[in-house]
């Protein structure tokens, strides 16, 4: 059987390299990349106070000639922001220091200014010049900056960066969920229907173990195409997003893509075998109702979904359990990662065996038979 399945896999892999399939594959790969790129572009507008985690950077506080204490931050996009330290009364009436974004000084380079990397022109604002010189070292500019300022002390500054759970959630939602499911729906669900429509079923079914070989071979082909799309998409998205601990992120998402591919692939194979005509519609309906709706019901029934297992693995592998709000924990379990993986592997094997038994026993009547 394995020999036959590998023959089908090799043949299908070669046969399916067509312009239309490559175009669909590219669209699947490009979709998450596009979303992540747009998100990354908008990251500079993100309110850093909402962010949690290690996006804090030490920046010098500059005392200007006028004695004011200001802080200049330059983010990785070259955007310059000038903050001023002011004293404001707290609830007890005591004065506390607070950092506020300084309003634009007329005629000077200040809040909102962008600098290109390698720009050696001294900025007009001495505070900005001092901040850059402190960061890049003496001689950062080709000329003397206007005015003077000195680094007084350092304090922490939060860059405008999305929290890591946001990137994780988006990548999980886009890659192991959306493109994996689309790819598998397109390439695995019509595994019998495509052969019957193409009138090639009879050639395969008249071979020993031909039916099961078609099932396993086409399952492997569909999983390979989808896994490749997931691999490329995940890699490019992480390169664009540059989350903290990117390698760990990559491994976690790729492992989820792999588990998603094999488990959903086996599920769609069974649909493809059982429902000859509207297999894709039934598979979509099942996914929407059971995997996306039921998996969010806080009851034991959600443990029957693949989605529940994948979600738990994401949270476990990225150590988000402590970050999650208590109400979200209702949707998650406490099972260890190895158990979740074991369940997913078990589901895959059971569904594939069921599909194998069904394809072997089912009669596929074609128009030419009747």
């Amino acid at each position: 059987m394995l020999h036959g399945a590998l023959s089908v896999f090799r043949f299908e892999l070669r046969r399916t390299v067509t312009w239309s399939r490559v175009a669909i594959w590219l669209i699947l790969v490009a979709f998450p990349i596009f979303i992540v790129s747009v998100m990354k572009y908008c990251e500079r507008y993100f309110d850093p106070t909402l962010a949690e985690g290690p996006s804090i950077r030490e920046v010098p506080t500059i005392r200007g000639n006028d004695g004011r204490l200001t802080q200049v931050t330059i983010n990785h996009n070259g955007r310059v922001r000038v903050y001023e330290q002011v004293e404001v009364p707290d609830s007890n009436g005591r004065l506390t220091k607070k950092k506020v974004l300084r309003p634009t000084d007329p005629g000077t380079e200040t809040n909102g200014q962008s600098r290109q990397p390698g720009d050696e022109t001294p900025p007009d604002n001495p505070e900005i010049a001092a901040a850059i010189e402190t960061a890049d070292g003496e001689g950062a500019f080709s000329g003397e900056p206007n005015g003077s300022a000195t680094a007084d002390e350092t304090s922490s500054y939060q860059e405008p960066r999305y929290p890591p759970w946001l990137w994780g959630g988006v990548l999980f939602g886009l890659i192991p969920e959306v493109i994996t499911l689309f790819g598998l729906l397109l390439w695995i669900t019509p595994l019998v229907h495509a052969e019957l429509e193409g009138k090639t079923w009879v050639f395969l079914a008249s071979r020993p173990r031909g039916r099961v070989s078609v099932l396993v071979g086409k399952y492997l082909t569909g999983v390979t195409w989808t896994l490749l799309a997931g691999l490329v998409s995940t890699t490019v998205c992480i390169l664009i997003a540059r989350p903290d601990d990117a390698l760990r992120f990559w491994w976690a998402i790729m492992a989820l893509v792999a588990f998603s591919c094999v488990s959903y692939g086996s599920m769609y194979s069974l649909f493809g075998v059982l429902f000859r005509r509207r297999a894709m519609v039934i598979a979509v309906a099942y996914t929407l109702i059971f995997e996306f709706l039921v998996s969010f019901i806080p009851a034991v029934i959600n443990q029957l979904t693949v989605q529940y297992r994948l979600r738990n693995l994401l949270v476990t592998w990225l150590d988000w359990r402590d970050l999650m709000p208590p109400e979200a924990m209702i949707l998650l379990g406490n099972e260890p990662a190895w158990l979740q993986m074991l369940v997913l592997c078990g589901v895959t094997v059971v569904l594939l065996v069921a599909a194998g038994v069904a394809i072997q026993r089912k009669e596929y009547v074609t128009a030419s038979d009747v």
Binding site: G4, F203, S206, P208, Y364, D369
Partner: protein
């Protein structure tokens, strides 16, 4: 070789085959019947693609449904066309031979050998999408016998073949029978089957009307004062580059009952009781006279006549 006992196949309320019983010893058989008579259903039942609704089937002593070992001994050439356009004949046949359990190298060797036998060796590396219908038919035949089966089952193998292609296909199948192997050839053209197989299974409306050697069918029909198989006239329509020259040759051969010109004298319409002999000699005559054939049709009304007679007998209308 094949035992059919009261085999019935229903597709919902549609009858595919109806209470067929027959016993076929190893040899060559022609399964003849008009379109929609149940030939393909019967072949699907024999090859284990379908399960009989009633009755039982045994092929080489085993029920064929879900018998993988049995499929190794059967080569099937279905009537459906090959629709893989971006795959070469060699790759496709090799792939199907691999599914019989052969290694890649052995599968390639067998595929090349089979394609060579059907005269496709010069084109076997071209994409199937670029083939003519006849080339696709020959490729289909190659995949059926490349794994060296004991029983070859062919469903309408002559569809789309030109006279030379028919001649080549006939030669291949005759060689197969001469080698002592078994064959079931399904066709709706009587003389195609007669040219290859000495025994018939005549099927219509899902029922087996007659079976046995041609002589038996002949006698059976003859005794009922109906036209015997050998005396049934076949009509052949040939559009060619020189109809007059071809007509003269046909008249000289003494094989035809009548001849006429139609369609502005561009088409020869002939009637013959020996269509097999005509089809066998026709390529030689065309070559000898340097005549180009543009179109050839054989409506085979003879088969309709024969089946009408058998149906009347079956219904008891002929005593």
């Amino acid at each position: 070789m094949i035992e059919l006992r009261n085999v019935t196949k229903l597709y919902g309320t549609v009858i595919g085959v109806n209470d067929i019983s027959a016993s076929l010893a190893p040899g060559a058989y022609g399964l003849v019947g008009p379109n929609g008579s149940g030939k393909t259903t019967l072949l699907s039942l024999i090859t284990g693609q379908l399960r009989p609704t009633m009755g039982s089937i045994r092929v080489f002593g085993e029920p064929p449904w879900n018998r993988d070992a049995l499929l190794r001994t059967i080569g099937l050439c279905p009537a459906v066309d090959v629709l893989f356009s971006n795959v070469s004949a060699l790759d496709w046949v090799r792939y199907l031979v691999e599914l019989h359990g052969f290694g890649r190298r052995e599968a390639r060797r067998r595929a090349e050998q089979a394609l060579d036998q059907v005269g496709m060796s010069a084109h076997m590396k071209r994409m199937i999408g670029t083939y003519s219908l006849g080339m696709r038919q020959r490729t289909k035949l190659a995949q059926a016998f490349a794994h060296d089966p004991e029983l070859l089952i062919l469903d309408e193998p002559f569809n789309g073949l030109d006279p030379i292609g028919r001649f080549q296909m006939t030669s291949v199948l005759r060689a197969w029978i001469r080698a002592g192997r078994s064959l079931i050839l399904a066709s709706h053209i009587l003389h195609e089957v007669e040219a290859i197989s000495p025994s018939f299974l005549l099927i219509r409306g899902g029922r087996l009307l007659a079976s046995g050697p041609a002589e038996e069918v002949h006698t059976m029909v003859d005794t009922k004062t109906e036209a015997p198989v050998s005396e049934v006239v076949s009509a052949i329509r040939i559009r060619c580059s020189d109809p007059r020259l071809l007509a003269r040759k046909l008249v000289e051969s003494g094989l035809i009952e009548s001849i006429s010109f139609v369609d502005n004298r561009q088409v020869v319409l002939l009637a013959t009781c020996q269509p097999n002999v005509v089809f066998e000699r026709l390529p030689h005559w065309l070559d000898e006279l340097n005549i180009r054939v543009d179109e050839m049709q054989s409506p085979d009304e003879s088969l309709e006549n024969l089946f009408s007679s058998l149906m009347r007998m079956h219904r008891g209308e002929v005593s």
